[in-house]
């Protein structure tokens, strides 16, 4: 086994890794976030290499009464670095306003995401736009009601609970995050969003998928022994396909 693994490692080193960066972004804000990430990483990598070279060449320099790194250099270095930090912060805070401080649009697609050891459930409010009441006594995953949706509430009739998240492309999504048992981390790498689902609270995030396709949703906060296998699929489809899918699902639910 060790031989095979050495082989794997050699393949990794020789071919360059399969992965040298972030998975392709697919949300409205991902190009800006990626650009900031790449620029900051690039600049800081440059400074870091420079500092490493300085540190280790120091080993081999002949002694000298005064340092080669005189006061103006030191101050200059500090000013440049602080300016870099300030610039990064300014750009990043601007983005933060757009992604997290700004509220979701009122006409955004509504989804409620619930984390349970070790599943994600997605609830759509249906045509009435209101989530039905949930009651913890009614929670019965095996019986098809993992969220404990109360069937006596008129709003819950058209609620769709699915284990795949289907979203229309180009439309903003307003996600309300809940957790039933412990803290979970709702993470869609391709959409560049991550937020914890906290029991007893509703946390909110919003994003706009811009490319159709299938993306991974994973759990990013340790939640128990099955943490690693707590994942789901996000399927981004065209608006027409989404409407069709929703109608189909509603019909299927009304059937029995």
């Amino acid at each position: 086994m060790l031989v095979f693994s050495t082989h794997d490692a050699a393949v990794f080193l020789l071919t360059g890794a399969p992965f040298w960066g972030m998975p392709p972004g697919a949300s409205l804000h991902s190009p800006a976030i990626d650009a900031l990430m790449r620029t900051s990483l690039g600049i800081l990598l440059g400074f870091l290499l420079l500092a490493q070279v300085l540190a280790f060449t120091g080993l081999f320099l002949a002694p000298r009464a005064k340092t080669r790194f005189s006061a103006p250099w030191r101050w200059g270095m500090l000013v440049v670095l602080v300016a870099l930090f300030v610039w990064m912060t300014a750009v990043a805070e601007h983005l933060w306003t757009a992604t997290s401080i700004a509220k979701a649009e009122a006409n955004a697609v509504q989804v409620e995401v619930t984390g349970v050891q070790f599943e994600w459930y997605f609830r759509y409010p249906g045509p009435d736009g209101v989530y039905g009441r949930t009651r913890p006594e009614l929670i019965d995953a095996a019986g098809g009601n993992p969220l404990g949706v109360d069937p006596n509430d008129p709003h819950s009739k058209d609620d769709l609970v699915r284990s795949v998240l289907v979203l229309p492309v180009g439309e903003e999504v307003h996600v309300q995050l809940r957790a039933q048992d412990v803290i979970h981390g709702f993470f869609i790498p391709a959409m560049r969003v991550k937020l914890n689902a906290v029991p007893g609270r509703v946390t909110q995030l919003h994003f706009t998928p811009m490319k159709t396709g299938s993306y991974a949703i994973v759990c990013s906060q340790v939640c128990g022994l099955g943490h690693y296998r707590m994942h789901a699929e996000l399927r981004v489809v065209t608006a027409a396909e989404f409407a069709q899918w929703q109608a189909q699902q509603e019909a299927a639910q009304a059937e029995p």
Partner: protein, 252 residues
């Protein structure tokens, strides 16, 4: 390497400093009898009759600083909890905080702990009355001990009364059906009174130890330290209680 030399007084500046630098501060206030003697010129361990006392006080103050941070954390959590709610089945966010009605006996307990601080201070001062201290120092008699002991005992009794009063307050609350697990405000009421009570119980043990030290310790210095440290601890817990009581009373 400098040889070991013998010389007094201490000079902390090199004859030719060679390199700049401020001269050292040579008037740090430490112990001493107020007679202008600068004990700092003496080696450690010989800096007057209150050197050791100063050390123990300083150590105690830092320990108490940590302890107060413990209570600060509880108090901050108290405020956070006040503004925390949960989502009810109808998707409404409800605040869970139900103010707790403080049992009136706590007013009596507060009076008791204030009184105990006074008796404690009287006891402490007995050990620092100069004439008695000198008498004990020379081994002529034990006037300070004899005067301090009753006050110490009074403090310990008052402290125990306070603890009994706190237990009574708990039982009154329980009779009303308010238990530790009942509501967020009751969590904090019981948690705060229990941790403070535990500290006060330790304080009563400290008083007992100080009382033993009064009679058993051979050195006057140790007798002073035992009573003085117990007193500072006791005062801190008293002031802390006033603050916590105010919080429980008005902070709800």
């Amino acid at each position: 390497m400098p040889a070991i030399i013998t010389r007094t007084p201490v000079d902390t500046e090199r004859k030719d400093p060679g390199i700049g630098g401020k001269p050292p501060v040579d008037h740090r206030p430490t112990g001493g009898g107020g007679d202008g003697e600068n004990w700092d010129k003496h080696p450690h361990g010989r800096r007057g009759p209150r050197e050791l006392l100063g050390h123990y006080r300083l150590g105690l103050f830092f320990a108490l600083a940590g302890d107060l941070m413990f209570f600060t954390a509880l108090v901050l959590a108290f405020y956070v909890q006040q503004h925390t709610g949960h989502i009810d089945p109808a998707n409404d966010y409800v605040l869970d905080w139900v103010p707790l009605v403080i049992p009136p006996i706590l007013w009596i307990n507060t009076a008791i702990i204030l009184l105990s601080s006074i008796t404690m201070e009287v006891a402490r001062r007995q050990l620092f009355s100069e004439i008695h201290v000198m008498e004990e120092w020379f081994g002529l008699g034990r006037p300070a001990v004899k005067r301090a002991a009753p006050w110490l005992i009074a403090t310990a009794v008052l402290g125990s009364l306070f603890l009994a009063g706190q237990l009574l307050a708990w039982s009154q609350l329980k009779a009303e059906g308010v238990y530790y697990a009942s509501s967020p405000s009751s969590h904090f009421f019981y948690m705060i009174t229990a941790t403070h009570g535990l500290h006060l119980l330790l304080g009563v043990f400290a008083l007992t130890a100080a009382l033993l030290a009064l009679f058993l310790a051979k050195r006057m210095e140790i007798r002073q330290i035992a009573v003085d440290c117990a007193a500072w601890y006791w005062h801190t817990m008293g002031i802390l209680w006033i603050f916590l009581f105010g919080l429980l009373l008005f902070g709800q």
